[in-house]
């Protein structure tokens, strides 16, 4: 059995009695690209929120490389090697693409370090190559606020690449993208999944089919099914949830 990078066990969070995520067990292997699907309100985003520290779980454990994450603060989890992309592209709109990427470079993240930070040619090189990879090589000097919706999505993925996380959590990375941009993104995700694990939330089944190794289906906060795309698609319960009664 392959090495597990993420082990989520019996994870529950309740908001005033409403259980958004309810006793979920969720394991991700090293180098795996996992897709999480499910109808609205299934708890997909909340699950990612808890892994990255945005929401504190009510009970359960989240182990990342055997380290418990649920007691750590967001920035500590990020430093431990978890990167998160949000549903709405969230980039620093008042900074340039270059500065957005540079800020995400995972060194000198304390006050004094950042005060005396100098951009070395090594960092510059890394920025260049990431920018190229996310199709933004020609837009380094542009303010991020001026990018298109799809480009902002890419930039946010690029910022995560700068962080070089072992585990990437992507929430609807192709929302609002054209078919061509979707394909480019699929190529991008397949390329960057080498040497790291990725969890993707996505509604677009064609896109999921393009990238997923394994698919997890959530429904009403609970784990409904897990397996390859074909297994999941032929699962009775999944069909029922998606097609209704």
């Amino acid at each position: 059995m392959a090495q597990m990078i993420l082990e989520v066990e019996d994870l529950t969070v309740s908001f005033d009695g409403f259980k958004a995520v309810d006793g979920v067990n969720f394991y991700v292997e090293q180098d795996e690209l996992r897709c999480v699907i499910g109808p609205n309100g299934a708890g997909k985003t909340t699950l990612l929120d808890m892994i990255c520290g945005k929401t504190k779980p009510t009970s359960g454990t989240i182990k990342f490389n055997r380290r418990e994450l649920s007691e750590m603060l967001e920035y500590q989890i990020t430093r431990a090697g978890v990167g998160r992309k949000f549903q709405n592209p969230s980039v620093y709109e008042d900074l340039t693409v270059l500065e957005n990427l540079e800020i995400s470079y995972p060194r000198k993240r304390n006050v004094l370090g950042s005060l005396f930070f100098r951009r070395s040619s090594e960092i510059q090189g890394k920025i260049e190559s990431v920018a190229h990879q996310i199709y933004l090589g020609d837009s380094l000097g542009m303010k991020a606020g001026l990018l298109s919706h799809g480009q902002k999505q890419w930039l946010e993925i690029g910022m995560l690449l700068m962080q070089d996380p072992e585990l990437l959590l992507l929430d609807e990375p192709v929302a609002g993208m054209s078919p061509r941009e979707r394909e480019q993104t699929a190529v991008l995700l397949n390329a960057i999944s080498k040497g790291r694990s990725i969890v993707v939330i996505e509604h677009d089944m064609a896109f999921v089919r393009m990238i997923a190794h394994k698919v997890t289906v959530l429904h009403q906060g609970k784990l409904l099914a897990e397996g390859t795309m074909d297994q999941v698609q032929s699962d009775e319960r999944v069909i029922e949830v998606y097609l209704g009664h």
Partner: protein
Amino acid sequence: MENVLPAAAAPAAKKSPLALMERWGWLILAVLLLVVLPLWLDVFRLTLAAKYLSLGFCAVGLVLIWGYGGILSLGQGVFFGLGSYMMAMFLKLEAASNPDSSSGTALSAFFGGEGMPDFMVWNSVEVLPWWWEPFHHVGFTIPAILLIPALSAFVFSYAVFRKRVGGVYFSIITLALSAILAIMIIGQQGYTGGVNGINDFRTFMGLDLNNDKAKHVMYFITVVTLLGVVGIGTFILRSRLGKILVAIRDREDRVRFSGYDPAMFKAFIYAVAALFSAIGGALFTIQVGLASPSLVGIVPSVEMVIYAAVGGRLSLIGAVYGSLIVGSAKTLFSENFVEYWMYFIGGLFVFVVMFLPEGLAGLLARLREGKNRRENV
């Protein structure tokens, strides 16, 4: 650092109008403050200018925390006041130990309060409070001015920011802090001089502060220090830390997921602003000869914000211009038609917020941008 790779350097080389203006603004300001004003103004006016410039330290700090950090502190008067009062305590003790130095000291010595500040004698405080003692020494006073306000600002704000209190709540809490300090100073007359403040001192380490030469020297010290402070601010904003501040201002949540602790950065910049304010306060006291609760409370604390806002909340240099402009306007009004000052400053708050949200610097930048665009067509 711009010469590493041409692809990245090209867009950076075309300076934004704001950056270009900052460069010219620097030059003009330096000439204005170091040459024009000293030649043009008499000593009385020059001291007035020095007074506005002392308040300009607070405005520069506000550009850092408010313009770039997005934190509107209405408590900068607290740190200005701390610097001002610590300096005043030192000067007052020096005056008290030298009966020739002021009429108050001579009188209080006559009433048996030798070595005691005169206002303590009038308030029947017979023993110098322990926390006044260290201010006998300049070697304590100056480090204290530089460290105490900054450290307390850091500790206070880190605690608050860690709890993710921000926005208007932070403004209201800092407003309450300035109210608290002003109330305490006024209430503890025997130890603080109360509503009259601490005044009536003439020497600083034996040097007479009242002659013209000393005033000129102090003026230049103020200008150089202020320009130095603006330089430090510029260095901070250009560093990676400056970028992180902007990122925190616009998307604090995202910054956490880039692996930073925003509370630490905000507290740091808040402490820097407090340090600047305290330096301003100390220089103010030396030159104006006064530490007063009227410069601590909520009215001055909010007024400092307008200095920064008039110059442009995103421009460090603008904050200095803003302080000079608003300060001069205040003098102009108070000498000619004092009853209209409140209308002016009140209207200024409304006008700047509604029509000039980026202040004069923003206005000039926009004009320049317009001109460039026309030329390029």
